[in-house]
Each structure stands twice: as structure tokens, then as C-alpha cells.
């Protein structure tokens, strides 16, 4: 099997698994318990917090463990909104291609009287920091822009956006779920006030994540309960998962350069090969993108049937077609970069990691063009384009 859906989830690293096992089998005490057996787990949490803080240049007291990226996004946004509302500042700036964990939270705030401004992400899927500067108002209470997009992989100028926000004293949150462990994060240099991380995107376990919140940023609870996480997130900590997350992030950051050299070579080879398919197009900026992201649109075919046939040939991939999203509209990300509906339906995302091989790339480059050809051969839309009855939307 060729697994090329690492933006969806990743295989757990052996180091992470072996770091977790003792905290499942032996040291299963509650870290809130006073006796030494419980404190053994508490010590491991301290260590995990330190490791994670070090990976993003934060201080351990600024790390809050959560159930994952979505919870972190929710808490960051709700917290900033709450402070804003108190000062009658109800304007939030974000982008049109955020993850739904951000967009749906903003939608909810809109119903509560907040004004949400979603910045245009342009054809290349990259925001210009000047857009943020131009949109900031007296009543802006938060800027939230994702570090790297989950579908088209484009990386945003986070340090610059953060700089704009810092100068105007506006809290800046970034959803770094796709970035953490894959590209360098430095919350100091990049002027980040809040940041969301999900462990299973960098070979850690599912159901665990981090919200980084700078010291002076007050958080609002989403979950009330005990005194865990300085009272900001109730519930007994998922100790093994947190240990696994810390081990995985440490490993990913230590091997980042070496991994990326390999991944970039494979990615560029695949992009180069798929570009040869007539009437296809790479989605998002060619340079400012995650090392493992390949995102294409193929004219005249539909993404779900493409994925099913790739699955039959042993390739796991993803698509932004409506049929895979469970709604009538194709991916909001592809629409945000200006792809027409028809083209957005024919999208394919391959997301690679360091476990992918040259053979995987070869197989992808052999199978994808064959499957695209086959689906086009039965597509009345494609046929109409060939005979000039309909116009091609993507260049040859």
C-alpha cells in the first residue's frame, strides 16, 4: 500500500509508541494524586510539557494540553472573543480557507454579534501581511490565520502577520496543525500569541493536542472541571497520549531537515510528473508550500471516483470533491483560490512523509495518469471539451 494521506493522519512513530507503553502498562496513576505512584505520571507530564515547549520556543507554563487541534482552535478563538466582547471589540480577522474548526467557531461568534472578516487568499493560496494591516480596526479583538493550509499546503507569512498584530497590540492565533513537526515554528520570532497543534499529524497519537497561549493571554474554559492545566481545561490528563505526543514532536523536530530533504525530492518529482497530464493544474503556490503536499485538479473528472480507483490500485489519497466532503459544494479551500466548482470537483491531494519511497512516487506517477485517462474516457464533460462543445478551463 502507498500511504499518501499524511495530512489526514500519520502512522505513529515507534519512538512515540514505546514512550507511551510504560504509562499504559505500569505507571497508570492519576497525575493529580498525592502519592508517589500518581506523581510518577505528573513528573512525566512536566517532562512532556518541557519538550513540547522547547520544540516551539515557548515556556512550559504556556503549554496547555487539549484533545487536539479542533479543541485548541475553539478555545483560542472563544478566549480572545470573550476578552474582546468585554471591551466592546467584536471584529475578528481570519482567512477564507481556514480549517472548519476555525471557520465554524467564527460562524458561531457571528451569530453572537461578532463581525468576521475573511481575507482573500488569492490564486496562489497565500495571504499578504499588508491585507491584515489594512483590515485591523479599533475594535479588532483577534487575528487568526492558519500556518499552513491542510488541503493545498500553502504556508503563510506567519512571522510578518504576527509582526503586524504585535505592533497594533492585537492577539494573533495560528492553527499550526499541518505545520508542527514539519516546518520550523518559533513563537518568539514569529510573533505568535496562540497556536494550535494536533499530535496525530506528526506521528503522535490521535485525540491529543496542544494550545500554546502566551503568558499574558487569558484563556476561557471550554471544559469546566478540576484544576488540571492551571484550571483552564478540566479532566484527567490523557497521560500516555501526552507522553507520545511529546516524544513524536521531539523526534519530528530533530529530524525535520533530513526528512524534508527526502520528502521534497519525492514531492517535486510527483508534481513534475502530474503536471504532464494535460489540462491539470497544481493548487497553491509552487514554492510556499509544505514539503509533503501535492494538490492537483484534473479537468473533466470527479474526485471521489478517482480516489476509489486509486484505492483499488493500493494508493491512499484524498480529494476536495463534494462527494468526499459530504456536502453539495466542493472544498471551500479550492473555491477560495478561485477554482470553478467543476474543476474543484476533480481534485486530488497526496500528502507525503518520510516513510514514502521512490517506488511510491513511481507508482503514483504510473497509476494516477492511467486512472485520470480512464475516467476521462467515460466522461461526457471531457468528450464535449475535446470536440469544442464546451471550453477547457485549465490550460493544456
Amino acid at each position: 500500500m502507498v500511504y499518501a494521506d499524511n495530512a489526514a493522519t500519520t502512522k505513529m512513530s515507534k519512538i512515540a509508541v514505546s514512550a507511551m507503553l510504560p504509562y499504559i502498562e505500569n505507571f497508570w496513576g492519576n497525575p493529580s494524586s498525592l502519592y508517589s505512584f500518581g506523581q510518577k505520571a505528573a513528573e512525566a507530564l512536566v517532562c512532556a510539557r518541557e519538550k513540547i515547549a522547547a520544540c516551539i520556543c515557548a515556556s512550559p507554563s504556556e503549554i496547555y494540553f487539549t484533545s487536539g487541534g479542533s479543541e485548541s482552535d475553539n478555545q483560542a478563538i472563544i478566549s480572545a472573543a470573550k476578552i474582546g466582547a468585554r471591551k466592546n471589540k467584536k471584529h475578528i480577522i481570519s482567512s477564507s480557507f481556514e480549517h472548519h474548526a476555525v471557520l465554524h467557531t467564527l460562524k458561531k461568534l457571528e451569530k453572537d454579534g461578532f463581525e468576521i472578516e475573511l481575507l482573500d487568499v488569492h490564486v496562489n493560496g497565500v495571504i499578504n501581511p499588508q491585507q491584515v494591516a489594512d483590515s485591523i480596526r479599533e475594535d479588532t479583538c483577534l487575528v487568526t490565520v492558519m500556518f499552513a493550509n491542510n488541503e493545498i499546503g500553502t504556508v503563510q507569512p506567519i512571522a510578518e502577520i504576527g509582526g503586524v498584530c504585535r505592533a497594533r497590540k492585537i492577539p494573533f492565533h495560528t492553527d499550526a496543525v499541518q505545520a508542527a513537526g514539519h516546518i520550523p515554528i518559533d513563537v518568539q520570532k514569529q510573533n505568535i500569541d496562540m497556536l494550535s497543534i494536533s499530535a496525530h499529524k506528526f506521528h503522535g497519537p490521535k485525540g491529543v493536542g496542544v494550545l500554546y497561549a502566551r503568558k499574558n493571554i487569558p484563556l476561557t474554559n471550554l471544559i469546566e472541571g478540576g484544576a488540571q492545566e492551571k484550571g483552564k481545561r478540566g479532566g484527567t490528563e490523557n497521560v500516555p497520549a501526552i507522553i507520545g505526543m511529546a516524544a513524536a514532536l521531539e523526534e519530528a523536530c530533530a529530524n525535520m531537515e533530513e526528512n524534508n530533504r527526502k520528502i521534497l525530492r519525492l514531492r517535486n518529482k510527483i508534481i513534475g510528473g502530474l503536471k504532464k497530464i494535460p489540462h491539470s493544474a497544481l493548487n497553491g503556490d509552487g514554492e510556499k508550500r509544505l514539503p509533503g503536499n501535492v494538490s492537483f485538479c484534473f479537468e473533466g473528472i470527479e474526485g471521489e471516483s478517482l480516489l476509489l480507483l486509486l484505492d483499488d490500485r493500493g494508493i491512499c489519497a484524498s480529494s476536495g470533491s463534494a462527494c468526499t466532503s459530504g456536502s453539495l459544494d466542493p472544498s471551500h479551500v479550492l473555491l477560495a483560490i478561485g477554482r470553478p466548482h467543476e474543476i474543484a470537483h476533480g481534485s486530488l491531494r497526496l500528502s507525503l512523509d518520510e516513510n514514502n519511497s521512490e517506488d511510491d512516487a513511481e507508482k503514483i506517477l504510473q497509476v494516477v495518469p492511467e486512472v485520470v485517462d480512464y475516467l476521462r474516457s467515460m466522461s461526457p464533460l471531457w468528450k464535449d471539451k475535446l470536440i469544442g462543445k464546451r471550453e477547457f478551463l485549465l490550460p493544456e
Binding site: 470527479e302 471521489e304 471516483s305 470553478p340 466548482h341 461526457p380
Partner: protein, 126 residues
């Protein structure tokens, strides 16, 4: 994938009657690119019986499977019977479709009815 029944996957992987018919007696095309599915049916009709049928589909797995199944259900059938075909019958013949995919079977029914209508329209013109 457990999303679809074995029958849907069989018709998706090995679609029956794919292609077009030159000088077809009736052609029906429904759906649009914006919504992500277009179905086109070609009918050859002799003595008011569907003697041959082909389809072309741009769409998801269940759209392709629904087209394929629908062609099998009408091949060799008199037009009176063909016009009785319902989307429900197509979906049932496929051992069911997920709720959000039922519109694929609707498209299949509509494409066939459009092709029969086209045949009647042409005949009336001649």
C-alpha cells in the same frame, strides 16, 4: 470501503454498457459540471424496444454505478416498461445507496427518461 455495497462497487469497477452509440435514436443528458455529475444516455430503439443502450458519466462512484445498473435494467425492454423505471428501483438493485448519494439514482432515471423523450421528439419531427 464500506461506504458502498458490493454491488455498487462491482458496477463502479466494471461498469456495463459504457460508451456512446453513433446515430442513436434517443440521447438524454442530465446534471451539470458545477454540481459534479453529468450523465448521458444513448438509446438504440427498434419497434419501441431498447435494443441497445450506452452511457457516459462524469461523477462519483455511485453516479457511475447507478448509470451502469440503469442501462442493464432497461436493455431489451419495451419503452412502456422503460418509462416505469424509478430511481428507487435503481437504488434497490444496487443493494442501496447512502442517503446523500440517492440523487445519483435520480439522475439515472432522469437521463433515461430524457433519452426516451428525445426519441419521441425526433420521431414526431420526422
Amino acid at each position: 470501503m464500506a461506504l458502498y455495497s458490493e454491488k455498487v462497487m462491482d458496477h463502479f469497477r466494471h461498469p456495463r454498457n459504457v460508451g456512446s452509440i453513433e446515430n442513436a435514436d434517443g440521447i438524454g443528458e442530465v446534471g451539470n459540471g458545477k454540481c459534479g455529475d453529468i450523465m448521458k444516455m444513448y438509446l438504440k430503439i427498434d419497434d419501441d424496444v431498447v435494443s441497445d443502450v450506452k452511457f457516459e458519466t462524469f461523477g462519483c462512484g455511485s453516479a457511475i454505478a447507478s448509470s451502469s445498473m440503469a442501462t442493464e435494467m432497461i436493455k431489451g425492454k419495451p419503452l412502456t416498461e422503460v418509462l416505469q423505471l424509478t430511481n428507487k428501483a435503481v437504488a434497490e438493485a444496487l443493494d442501496g445507496l447512502p442517503v446523500h448519494k440517492l440523487h445519483c439514482s435520480v439522475l439515472a432515471e432522469e437521463a433515461i427518461k430524457a433519452a426516451v423523450q428525445d426519441y419521441y421528439d425526433k420521431r414526431n419531427r420526422d
